[in-house]
């Protein structure tokens, strides 16, 4: 579905991403993890085609991502950004309808029938029916994040890119958000690539993890293989304790209190 072939990106003289080789198969849910400045967001910008790789290439369905027209690419791939939905003075329903933009012809008509029914369905699924006629700039951060998700659902993509989608949400909305994406993937079989800060959420929901550090891929594989104490220690420079989730068995990362102090003593 998506292939990175020696994909790299440099800004000025600084290399943000070194030649990355990576393959995402159809229907997989990948998590991209790594510390700040490790190249996660750069990789997302290359995948979504808003920036060009300075070396190597990104291919989506066998074609280089730059070769797609913006509309053509948007029919296949939707992106949910970290900052989510801006507080714009449009109504929730209007913003969801904007998700249909890649499909509209030059007269503004949607080839799909019953778009209203589809939008209603999304509103209902995301608990937004009561807010449908409210302006987005009157909503809370969590509500706006659901509107953002509604918009990408209306876009009906086959690939969903998520850039730290849960950063500004409390744990209730974090879990709700991940559940909604998981449910959507089960129903529509979409491929998901998500940059995640929360390693525990990543372990619970992702099939595979790509670990980045200093713009290089440290490793990639299943959460069980990726989230080991040595790897977390070397990548994040913390002292972790890894336990198995008591219900699902997925690895969960706990931090030990002394980590920072010991590092200072060692002179790091």
């Amino acid at each position: 579905m998506i292939e990175a072939i020696g994909a790299g990106k440099a800004y000025g003289g600084v290399t943000a991403l070194h030649g990355l080789d990576w393959t995402v198969r159809e229907g997989e849910w990948w998590g991209i993890i790594g510390p700040n400045g490790s190249g996660k967001s750069t990789l997302m910008r290359l995948l979504s085609g808003v920036e060009r790789a300075s070396s190597g290439m990104i291919r989506v369905r066998g074609r280089q991502v730059e070769d797609y027209g913006r509309k053509e690419l948007s029919r296949m791939m939707a992106v949910l950004q970290q900052e989510g939905m801006m507080p714009v003075p449009y109504r929730v329903r209007e913003v969801l309808e904007m998700g249909r933009h890649p499909y509209l012809n030059w007269l503004g008509q949607d080839p799909k029938e019953n778009v209203d029914v589809m939008i209603d369905g999304i509103l209902e699924k995301l608990d937004l029916l009561d807010l449908a006629d409210r302006h987005v700039d009157e909503l809370s951060g969590g509500q706006r994040q659901r509107v953002a998700l509604g918009q990408v659902m209306a876009q009906e993509p086959q690939i969903l890119l998520l850039d730290e989608p849960t950063t500004f949400l409390d744990i209730h909305y974090q879990q709700q958000f991940m559940e909604l994406v998981a449910e959507w993937r089960d129903e529509a079989g979409i491929t998901v690539v998500a940059v995640l800060h929360d390693l525990n959420l990543a372990a619970l929901y992702c099939d595979k993890l790509l670990v980045l550090r200093d713009g290089r891929a440290v490793s990639m594989g299943t959460p069980e293989d990726m989230l080991t104490s040595e790897r977390i220690r070397s990548v994040y420079d913390v002292e972790p304790v890894i336990v198995a989730h008591p219900v699902y068995g997925a690895p969960q990362v706990l931090l030990s209190k002394a980590a920072l102090k010991r590092n200072e003593e060692e002179g790091n």
Binding site: Q81, M85, P102
Partner: protein
């Protein structure tokens, strides 16, 4: 959407027609609205046979030769500036953006003041020399501003605004210098830069009309994409908008509309800033409504402003730019006050 457009558009057009009829009657000779309507209808193809001239023939001369071309030119200049303003505000996503933000008016003013300073305003192609040169220097300014702001094939909005401000102050200094050096007692440069619609004939209106219509349709056709741009440039790109292409097209068209208006009528401020805002307060944030309604609103506003400019202290004419600022600024203040009160009234 289309229902809203028909509603607001219908009311707007009715107000526009009423404005034209009333303002045509105001002047040194007051003319009754009924006669004006009949005189204008009489000239329309297909209707002329049904109306028998019952009016004073001198009325017809005043209307057709003097007032109608001026009023229509004012309408077009106002509409062009307002559409350009809505385009600039949409692309720059900055509520303080207006048609002059990128220095186009200063560029036009430099061309015009050079000509006036050296006494060349009728040199090359007669009365058309000044508008033509002002248009070219205005458009050149945009090119300079874009070249200054361009960065790896993209034009970041912030650099664009900054280089516009830089260009504007530099060119403004050139105009001030020429104004100060000019030895005439009645300073023609100063007069030109403050805007006027007097003594322009039908030819100006005839040239501006198709030009304006093309510009309006181009900006209007990008309205849906401008709505998406409000979500942020990257989000718009993810929804299938070719962001750089959109910015370039709308900026270019808006600038050319501005340059045309300025080169014909001088620098008339406030229309391009206030009208799109007023429309937004009334009809909401959808550019599919803002663009066409701004055209109508700009036309209405400018016709009234020019009527005040030519009749309030007649026979002295007040510079048009002064009138638009006098009327526009307090009205804008009132609207801001009202929307602030409304928001408070809603509570939470």
């Amino acid at each position: 959407m289309s229902k809203k457009l028909a509603g607001y558009g219908g009311i707007g057009l009715a107000l526009l027609v009423l404005t034209l009829l009333v303002c045509l009657g105001i002047g040194s000779v007051a003319l009754p609205v009924k006669d004006i309507a009949l005189i204008v209808l009489h000239r329309l193809p297909g209707v002329s046979g049904l109306i028998h001239p019952t009016w004073d023939p001198s009325f017809e001369q005043i209307i057709l030769k003097v007032r109608l071309p001026r009023v229509l030119l004012g309408m077009l200049v106002g509409a062009a500036l307002a559409v350009a303003g809505s385009g600039f505000q949409g692309v720059l996503r900055n509520p303080l953006a207006d048609p002059f933000t990128l220095g186009v008016s200063s560029g036009s003013a430099v061309g015009a003041s050079m000509l006036i300073f050296f006494g060349l305003q009728y040199s090359l192609i007669g009365a058309w020399t000044l508008p033509a040169v002002a248009f070219v220097t205005g458009a050149l300014t945009l090119w300079g501003v874009m070249a200054l702001a361009r960065e790896r094939g993209k034009i970041p909005t912030n650099s664009l605004i900054l280089s516009g401000v830089v260009m504007q102050s530099f060119l403004g200094a050139v105009v001030s210098f020429l104004t100060a050096m000019s030895k005439e007692t009645v300073n023609e440069i100063l007069y030109w830069t403050m805007g006027s619609l007097s003594l322009r004939g039908w030819s100006y209106t005839a040239i501006l009309l198709p030009y304006f219509l093309a510009g309006l349709l181009l900006v209007w056709s990008r309205a849906r994409s401008l709505n998406l741009l409000a979500l942020g440039e990257r989000q718009a790109a993810h929804l299938g908008v070719n962001v750089e292409g959109l910015k370039l097209t709308v900026l270019l068209v808006s600038t050319l509309l501005t340059a045309a208006a300025v080169s014909m009528a001088g620098v008339i401020g406030f229309v391009g800033l206030v009208i799109p805002h007023v429309v937004r307060l009334i009809a909401g944030s959808d550019y599919r409504l803002i663009v066409p309604l701004s055209a109508i609103g700009g036309g209405i506003f400018m016709v009234w402003a020019d009527t005040i400019a030519r009749s309030l202290l007649a026979p002295t004419e007040i510079p048009l730019g002064v009138v638009t600022a006098f009327v526009g600024a307090p009205f804008f203040g009132y609207l801001l006050y009202r929307s602030k009160k409304q928001r408070k009234g809603m509570g939470a």
